[in-house]
C-alpha cells in the first residue's frame, strides 16, 4: 500500500486522514474509501493532508470527483494541512480556488 487511509466522524463530519504519496497508485484506494462512505451518507468531509508529502494529477482527479459528488448532495469539503509541495501543485492547477483550505483539522472542522 502506498497510502494509509483512516476515517473517523466528528459529529456529522467525516475526517479522512491520508498518509503517504497521493499518486496514481493511491488514487483508486482514496476514491473507493470516499465513495463507500459517501454512499453511506457522509456529505461533510474534512481531508487531512498533513501527512501527504507528494501529490500528482491522479490525486487532483480524485479530489475533483469528491467535490462534485459532495456539491451535488448539498455537502461540503474542506482540506487541511497542505505541505508546500502539495500547495504548489494546487496553486498551479487552479485547485486553490476550488477548495476551502485550512491549516489544521481543527480549523477545518470549525470552517465546515
Amino acid at each position: 500500500m502506498s497510502m494509509e487511509i483512516t476515517n473517523r466522524f466528528e459529529n456529522d463530519v467525516l475526517v479522512l486522514g491520508l498518509d503517504g504519496r497521493f499518486d496514481a497508485h493511491a488514487a483508486p484506494q482514496v476514491e473507493e474509501t470516499f465513495t463507500t462512505l459517501f454512499s453511506q451518507g457522509a456529505t461533510k468531509v474534512v481531508v487531512d493532508f498533513s501527512a501527504v508529502g507528494y501529490l500528482s494529477s491522479a490525486g487532483l482527479r480524485v479530489l475533483l470527483v469528491m467535490i462534485r459528488k459532495l456539491k451535488s448532495a448539498q455537502g461540503a469539503i474542506v482540506l487541511a494541512g497542505l505541505q508546500p509541495h502539495v500547495k504548489e501543485v494546487f496553486d498551479i492547477s487552479g485547485f486553490t480556488d476550488l477548495f476551502t483550505i485550512e491549516g489544521s483539522v481543527q480549523e477545518a472542522l470549525a470552517a465546515i
Binding site: 499518486d23 497508485h25 500528482s56 494529477s57 509541495h85 504548489e88 476550488l98
Partner: protein
C-alpha cells in the same frame, strides 16, 4: 562529469513510488533543492502514469525505461516505451480557472510536466520505441 542511471520497469502503478525515489535521488545528485526534486518527480510520475495507463498490465517486465542524466546545466531525463507515436503539443491546455463543474476530469498531467520542466519533447525512435525527453536547468546562483 556526467552521472547517468537507468531503471527498466513493468507497467504497474505499484512502481511509481520507486520511480519517485529514483528520480528524486538523481535530481538531488544533479544539485536541485528539495522543492525542485519534487517538481521533477511529479513531471516524471505524470509521464510514467500515462505510459502505464496505456500499456497492458503485466504485458512485460520491461515495458518502459527511465534514464536520468546529471549534466552541467541540471538534469536530463528520457522515458522510453513502445507506445504509438503521440502528438504531445496537440493536447489542449486545461483551463485552470474553470470551476469544479466545468473542468474535465483529468488532463492536468501534461500541463504539470510542462510547468515543472524547462523542456519536454516526444521523439519517435528509429528503434520502434517512443522517447519522451525532458530537462530542467538548475536555478542560477
Amino acid at each position: 562529469m556526467t552521472k547517468e542511471a537507468t531503471l527498466q520497469l513493468p507497467a504497474d502503478t505499484a512502481y511509481l513510488k520507486m520511480i519517485g525515489e529514483f528520480v528524486s535521488r538523481m535530481a538531488k545528485i544533479s544539485g536541485f533543492d528539495d522543492l525542485d526534486c519534487k517538481r521533477i518527480e511529479v513531471a516524471v510520475d505524470e509521464a510514467c502514469t500515462n505510459v502505464i495507463e496505456h500499456t497492458q498490465r503485466g504485458a512485460s517486465h520491461d515495458a518502459f525505461s527511465i534514464c536520468c542524466r546529471a549534466v552541467a546545466s541540471g538534469i536530463e531525463i528520457t522515458i522510453s516505451d513502445r507506445g504509438a507515436p503521440f502528438d504531445f503539443d496537440s493536447v489542449a491546455v486545461p483551463d485552470v480557472s474553470a470551476g469544479a463543474e466545468d473542468r474535465p476530469i483529468g488532463g492536468l498531467g501534461i500541463f504539470l510536466m510542462k510547468k515543472f520542466m524547462d523542456f519536454v519533447k516526444y521523439t519517435p525512435g528509429a528503434d520502434g520505441m517512443r522517447h519522451l525527453t525532458m530537462s530542467k536547468n538548475r536555478p542560477a546562483g
